[in-house]
């Protein structure tokens, strides 16, 4: 029962309250770049949700079994005294967090890049139709801060230690929240094409001002949350 409650909480929190675009400022490049047309926004949103879910799953395993110092760490299991102060490294003060501090950024980004490549190849083989729909957006996702951001937020920067299911759910629902924001934005921007906007505000500036009002309405969800 507790798990289901936690998952529901994660669903609401990561889609609405801490919406990745509107509250956490992650993944703004595709948000501004790909929202001119609704069909593109849906394609990008789907691709991103897919990659974010996969990325969280893989980086969470990488974090628990390789980087994080804990009972599940494979290095600790193989050689329990590896981080021990009485180990052969004695006197050199081996920091138990050395692995996650030094290797986190590099290993995550490599895993994500490899994953995106893999997803691209797999989709090409399994579902050519989906591949062509998402095709151009997939390579762009490697350098999308929403993916690396969600990986960090569910592992090293999580407010409390999460389980694998909770972490993966966070990734999925963050992607869903992203898609919702992109869809709303593309609807606004398609209408904006017909509006008479001052020349200096055309394009990105007016898009940001509209985003501001969207963020204002999403801000209301945060006020509803019990602290």
């Amino acid at each position: 029962m507790n798990t289901i409650r936690n998952l529901l909480f994660i669903a609401v929190a990561s889609t609405l309250v801490y919406n990745f675009v509107l509250a956490r400022f992650l993944g703004l490049c595709p948000f501004i770049g790909v929202t001119r047309k609704t069909s593109n926004a849906i394609g990008m949103g789907m691709a991103l949700t897919f990659v974010m879910t996969m990325a969280v799953f893989v980086t969470f395993l990488l974090y628990t079994y390789f980087l994080h110092y804990g009972p599940q760490n494979i290095f600790v299991r193989v050689w329990p005294r590896i981080f021990d102060y009485n180990s052969p490294f004695r006197g050199k003060t081996v920091d138990t967090m050395v692995l996650e501090r030094v290797l986190r950024t590099g290993s995550y980004i490599l895993v994500i890049a490899a994953l995106v490549q893999l997803v691209e190849l797999a989709l090409k083989k399994v579902s050519p139709a989906l591949y062509h729909a998402l095709g151009i957006y997939l390579p762009l996702i490697t350098t999308n801060c929403a993916v690396l951001g969600v990986a960090c937020l569910t592992t090293t920067d999580a407010t409390r230690p999460l389980t694998l299911i909770e972490a993966t759910a966070t990734g999925f629902f963050a992607g869903v929240g992203f898609t919702i924001a992109m869809l709303l934005m593309s609807g606004i921007r398609e209408t904006l094409e017909l509006a008479d906007v001052p020349a200096s505000l055309k394009g990105a500036p007016i898009a940001f001002i509209c985003t501001s009002f969207m963020a204002l309405s999403f801000f209301g969800f945060a006020l509803k949350l019990p602290t």
């Binding site: 400022f25 501090r101 951001g149 501001s212």
Partner: protein, 206 residues
């Protein structure tokens, strides 16, 4: 304007004004919006990004004949990720812990900041070391300057302070400006302002 100046100086200046990463090229916006609640947060973030940008530009420029063009993007990312890790560890080691906490995940996210990969791909992989270094300095200064501008506006109007010092008595700050919606609003209006200036300059010259 830039044609009259020394070509090396022009390399620096173009990053600050004509090709400002935030207001003109519109890259690296995520960090811009997230850390500009106060000027005190914006400056370290700008300088960290600048350090990574300059170092990665120099290294990538040195390696430009070695890296095969098919695998250049992963190579660039590895170089950038190493420098980001160094900056991250340096921030944790030499600065108060509150700073790392405030900047949070946006320090590791420098890796995916489009400005750095953008400059590596568009400039450093094609130009000499000195020019790449100056390009990094210019873009970094442009980025830091833009962060300071956005954060100053948000902090003064949203909190009534600048760099933590109270600037106005009897002034009710609009707290929404230090929250998420204010960030989008200030950036949108500033972008509009810069576009308006460039439109006006073009009108005058023609």
């Amino acid at each position: 304007m830039a044609a009259k100046e020394h070509p090396l100086l022009a390399e620096v200046l173009k990053g600050i004004f004509a090709e400002n990463p935030i207001f003109v090229v519109m890259l690296g916006l995520c960090a811009t919006l997230a850390v500009t609640t106060t000027a005190k947060n914006a400056l370290p973030m700008g300088l960290s990004t600048m350090a990574v940008l300059v170092c990665s530009n120099v290294i990538i420029s040195l390696l430009r004949h070695v890296i095969p063009s098919q695998v250049r993007i992963p190579c660039f990312i590895v170089v950038i990720a190493s420098f980001v890790t160094m900056v991250e560890l340096a921030l944790k080691a030499y600065f108060p812990p509150a700073l790392s906490e405030q900047l949070g995940i946006f320090i590791p996210l420098i890796v995916v900041n489009c400005i750095i990969l953008g400059r590596a791909e568009a400039f450093a992989s094609k130009n000499t070391v000195l020019r790449s270094f100056l390009d990094g300095v210019g873009s970094g200064l442009g980025f830091t300057g833009a962060l300071l501008l956005v954060s100053s506006i948000r902090e003064v109007l949203g909190n009534g302070t600048w760099w933590g010092i109270k600037v106005a008595e009897r002034f009710e700050p609009a707290a929404i400006l230090v929250q998420a919606p204010g960030a989008f609003l200030v950036l949108g209006l500033l972008m509009g302002f810069f576009k308006w200036m460039s439109l006006r300059r073009r009108e005058k010259s023609s």
